[in-house]
């Protein structure tokens, strides 16, 4: 399949909507598991947006995909550790229990 203007637009629009849904899910998440799910959805949007790169710099695009997969794996590892430690300390995984970091509006 060739990459024309219509297919490129479809890919970018899908990527944009997936990223938007990921952001809204992260903003409205009440627990850390939902936050993790939203991050993975955002990574899915990133993978979608890489497709057009394969038409011009295919090897580099594949390298970027591999870096993205390793980054998401590391993010999952760190967040799982954070969830375990958070649960041990607070006996729940609700984001409202987070008292350190971020701005209070």
């Amino acid at each position: 399949m060739q990459l024309d203007v219509i297919s490129t637009s479809a890919i970018y629009i899908t990527s944009f909507v997936l990223l938007l849904v990921g952001y809204v899910t992260a903003l409205s998440s009440k627990d850390l598991v939902r936050l993790l799910i939203s991050f993975e959805l955002m990574f899915g949007a990133v993978f979608m947006s890489i497709i057009p790169l394969f038409s011009s710099i295919s090897n580099t695009a594949f390298g970027i995909t591999i870096v993205g997969i390793f980054t998401s794996s590391s993010e999952l590892l760190v967040l799982i550790i954070a969830i375990i430690l958070f649960d041990r300390k607070n006996k729940n995984i609700y984001t409202r229990s987070i008292s350190i970091g971020g701005d209070k509006l």
């Binding site: 399949m1 060739q2 990459l3 024309d4 203007v5 219509i6 297919s7 479809a10 890919i11 970018y12 629009i13 899908t14 944009f16 997936l18 938007l20 849904v21 990921g22 952001y23 809204v24 899910t25 903003l27 409205s28 998440s29 009440k30 627990d31 598991v33 939902r34 993790l36 799910i37 993975e40 959805l41 990574f43 899915g44 993978f47 979608m48 497709i51 394969f54 038409s55 011009s56 295919s58 090897n59 695009a61 594949f62 390298g63 995909t65 591999i66 870096v67 997969i69 390793f70 998401s72 794996s73 590391s74 999952l76 590892l77 799982i80 550790i81 969830i83 430690l85 649960d87 041990r88």
Partner: protein
């Protein structure tokens, strides 16, 4: 509009529908399942463009390992289902619309300036990627970094008891 574009639109549309399922679902377990299905459809778009190595990477590693760990985590920490949808979606959508329109204008300008880039074939050979030593070094570096991170994670969890 060709059959390929219709198939691409269908795959993209189903991926968007499942991603909306993540947002709307009250239960984290079902949200993680919807997320995994969304990523499988993203991988299917790669398969449509004949990029099988990326399809395998996404389906077997991203969904097969990371997605299933998330499903297991959501099943383990299963809380009573509650609506997780705040009013923050309004500023998020306004910002997204502004950014989307700016990107559209930029793409339109680029398409006018470089019309020769409008239609391009995707030619990717996995053998060419493996033949480049720099990329092999990159993969080795990332694998060793992941092992270091896993060891650090084990130490943190073990030491926090």
């Amino acid at each position: 509009m060709g059959m390929d574009v219709l198939l691409l639109s269908a795959l993209a549309g189903v991926a968007i529908l499942f991603s909306l399922g993540v947002l709307v679902s009250k239960d984290n377990f079902y949200s993680s399942l919807y997320m995994s299905v969304t990523l499988i459809f993203v991988a299917a778009v790669y398969a449509l463009f004949n990029l099988q190595p990326v399809f395998v990477l996404i389906v077997f590693i991203f969904v097969g390992a990371i997605g299933i760990v998330t499903v297991a985590l959501a099943a383990t920490y299963r809380t009573p289902p509650e609506r997780q949808f705040s009013s923050w979606w309004i500023p998020a959508i306004i910002t997204a619309l502004v950014l989307g329109f700016s990107s559209y204008l930029l793409m339109k300008r680029q398409a006018l300036l470089h019309p020769q880039l409008a239609t391009r074939p995707i030619q990717f050979e996995f053998a060419n990627f493996l033949a480049t030593p720099e990329y092999i070094l990159l993969v080795l570096f990332l694998v060793s970094l992941s092992i270091l991170m896993m060891l650090s994670a084990l130490k943190i969890v073990g030491g926090a008891k």
